[in-house]
Symmetry: C3
Subunit: 263 residues, 3 copies
């Protein structure tokens, strides 16, 4: 995956308009759905234990996010993830604040064991999944992504998946290859759920049939470039959030390729 | 109900400022509440089994939306709907993605049996309630509203209620009369929960005392006209969503009557 | 606390960037998190019974809001509030629609008994907690804040806490001192969850180490002044809500001191 592959990835997503099944948190449900619609996917939020297995097999990809985890939702996540695995439906895990409590840590590990194709977190979350000290400030990341880069590589090898660590620089690795992305804008840290949005966009590209590493890079690049465009001329986080949806909607492949800073 | 009746309906809603009790989904709760406030109603989101019966009798109307259905919420919906029926409080049902799983289909049918005054769905949802194939792509509608128009008429007669099928053209029927609305804008399909918003606005007009067919037509016309205004000069779905609330707030009866395309 | 103390309070908040643990309602979760980020705090929404005690001790303050109360969430609130009290972590209670049902009233009283540092409600909610008739229109306030002012003083003395009653004029009292605030804008009543936002901002100032009366005054003043700025040049409640986040983010101490109308 290089910058020149991004226009094709975006076209493929928009042609497929993949149904993305989200089991996500209450804070970001609306924004996640709108971001998925804006990029060209078709979101659905379905979370009851009674129906997630029947629903996920209709989807092109599954997004699991433990942000406002409750015990029944945890069971639904495990059911959906297991069924997705059986049916060959790719899924991505967002282990929000995984290191903050035993409940989150245990849940994140139980989900990791069900083999997501991609794991997307901030440095603290990724470090905590490896058992390292990373911070305990909820959803904030106290640790530098650079330190988490090595943890990401180890996790990727241990679990046979792609790990994306996001921060000022994003790192995406399958345990062998390592892609660094330099896009984005500090305003992303002043709006809630932009990390969750990154995860959902990765899910959309997975749903469009991209391999996990490519899907992760494309999702993060799309968000980063749209964020840079959104930050131009906006007055604060409220208008930035609105402009981010506009920019995801208006994103074109040529701009994405020209502005993406991958290495 | 013709276009010339719309200013009176809107005035009546704003004078009544009806308390609208919503048992709705997590994705749209915020936007629904803001849309109800913008049009001039007073929203409340109350969903615990322990209190919905005590609350609904204080309300002017009830809105039931199964978008992110959970089993305890289903029980709350059934309790509230039954109590609303007993107390003569009108209510509207939004059977989100009713055809996607047995859990949703069964829930939708159990709620239909409790006799809402209005049922509002997209073509897929309405068709699936009649047992026809309509699509299974979650909240998206894969079926043409025209095909669902006949299904709506049958459902309306079977259950003795008003059915509103929304899409590029909306159809509202009580089983005898059929009103078609041509308002709206494609951008409505790029923002999550605009169908849910339509349902909530129908609830607001029911709460203002309008008969079900009139309430359904007025709610859909208000949303459609506000959406057309909102789409003028907005750059994408983020700013469209913001402008939609501004336009619902600023909507005046004369504009509504002039722009509504009913037949 | 006078207007000249406000710049110092705001600086202290931004330097501390306190982790604010919210157990709040589904309608406002996103906006609350964004408002806390905008003012300079670090929000986390954590609500499972299994983890709230482990999480709250890592936070600088706790915000408890019963807006879309469910029984498991009530237990989580009680666990978190008790643990916060034991650990000396300040917390604020928002008794949304406390008078509307027995379930809410009982919950609000059980939480009051756990000794929040601040109670923030509208006139109806505060009156209902004293057992007086105040209205039953859900989250709306039917009663004048002036009448609730005296109820606030009584409640503050009974429970040994600070009570903030918000409305066209806000009143903050510890049972002895009484501060009136004249900031704000009518548009605040056309956006859902602005009262909840006030409560969350009070939580942020508590988390920055301010005494309860000062934290309550600072939180309400910040929201009121930002709302006045946001209302300038916005076309309706949609754009007002966006501008409110921009203004909370851009708020500076000098403007806050100059525009705050305390007495």
């Amino acid at each position: 995956m290089t910058a020149t592959d991004l226009p094709g990835a975006l076209s493929r997503l928009r042609a497929a308009a993949p149904l993305v099944h989200n089991i996500t948190n209450q804070v970001v449900a609306n924004f996640t759905a709108n971001a998925l619609l804006a990029i060209g996917a078709s979101p659905a939020m379905v979370q009851a234990e009674e129906e997630v297995e029947a629903f996920v097999v209709q989807a092109a990809a599954l997004v699991v996010n433990i942000g406002t985890l409750l015990a029944p939702q945890r069971r639904a996540m495990q059911l959906a993830a297991r069924r997705a695995g059986e049916a060959g439906i790719p899924w991505v895990l967002d282990p929000v604040a995984a290191g903050a409590t035993a409940f989150r840590r245990d849940t994140a590990h139980s989900l990791l064991a069900l083999r997501p194709r991609v794991l997307r977190g901030n440095a603290s979350e990724i470090l905590s999944l490896l058992g390292e000290e990373g911070g305990g400030r909820g959803v904030d990341s106290g640790a530098a992504p650079e330190r988490a880069r090595d943890a990401a590589r180890i996790l990727a090898r241990q679990h046979g998946l792609v790990v994306a660590v996001t921060g000022a620089t994003d790192y995406v690795t399958d345990g062998e290859r390592m892609v660094a992305l330099e896009n984005g804008h500090p305003m992303l840290t002043r709006v809630t759920g932009t990390g969750c949005t990154a995860t959902a966009l990765v899910g959309a590209f997975l749903g469009a049939g991209l391999p996990p590493l490519d899907a992760a890079v494309a999702g993060l690049a799309a968000l980063g470039v749209a964020a840079e465009q959104a930050a131009e001329g906006t007055a604060g986080p409220g208008s930035f959030q609105v402009a981010l949806l506009d920019r995801l909607h208006g994103l074109d492949g040529a701009t994405l390729a020209a502005r993406a800073r991958l290495r």
